[in-house]
């Protein structure tokens, strides 16, 4: 068993445990913090896969900005301990059944198409150089320029939408 595999197994255990903790913790603040842990482990996976820029974006945007927004809203609403009102009786069993079906499907696909020759070796040092980042930027701004611009418009629309949604009506009692 080589060292890469050991690192992978330990990290994936932490990652899955954090995801389960997010799902099953009673307090929504703990859920958010477990999700931050999950995002951080996934960022380490990105570094192992030779994608340092995506790893940094993951930490700053996901684990930083988005999860802080979540924590802010949870605490603003005081929604950390929502009473678990009478859930629909058939909802939980049905959800578990559907999740098991999905898991079996994924497992079947994985096993039927498993290819043992596609291995990912640890990235060599060249991955972490400026050259690598420059190459990625060239791809982004040459080949994928239109989607990039569309994304910026999408973010602007989302920003305006959020402001309009939470704006107080002028003069009117809201």
């Amino acid at each position: 068993m080589n060292s890469d595999l050991i690192v992978f197994l330990v990290l994936s255990l932490v990652s899955i445990a954090a995801a389960l903790g997010m799902l099953f913790s009673r307090n929504a603040v703990y859920s958010a913090l477990f999700l931050v842990l999950n995002f951080s482990t996934v960022a380490v996976f990105y570094i192992l896969l030779g994608a340092p820029f995506i790893a940094m974006a993951q930490i700053t945007v996901y684990a930083g900005a988005i999860m802080v927004l979540f924590l802010f809203v949870i605490m603003l609403l005081g929604a950390e301990n929502l009473p678990s009102t009478k859930a629909l009786p058939w909802q939980r069993p049905l959800a578990v059944i559907l999740a098991v079906v999905l898991a079996v499907e994924a497992l079947y696909l994985l096993l039927s198409r498993a290819s043992s020759d596609a291995v990912i070796t640890a990235p060599d040092a060249s991955v972490n150089t400026v050259e690598n980042l420059r190459e990625m930027a060239m791809t982004l701004f040459n080949q994928y320029l239109l989607p990039f611009e569309v994304t910026s418009v999408l973010l602007l629309v989302a920003l305006i939408g959020a402001i309009v949604l939470t704006r107080k009506e002028k003069g009117g009692q809201k």
Partner: protein, 100 residues
Amino acid sequence: MVQVDYYIALSAVLFVIGTLGVLTGGNPLIIFMSIELMLNAANLAFVAFASMHETFSGQIFVFFVIAVAAAEVAVGLAMIVEIFKSRRNINVDEVNSLKG
């Protein structure tokens, strides 16, 4: 050396956990976090394949997914705050009419 299948398996496990969260949750904040988890699982698969094929396209898709997730969270959380302000209740099983 780690086989790419291992990364895909981890991605599938995380995706299934996220699906379970969406299907069971009554609290929309937990549902949103589960959606983030599912997006993240897909991102992991993208980066694993990009690393396997030694191309940047997969990483750039992840970049776009992160941007779209940020937009989704901004609008979604604004809606949750508004619904909470008008109804004092955000359980998705009880918020079942469009009229505020």
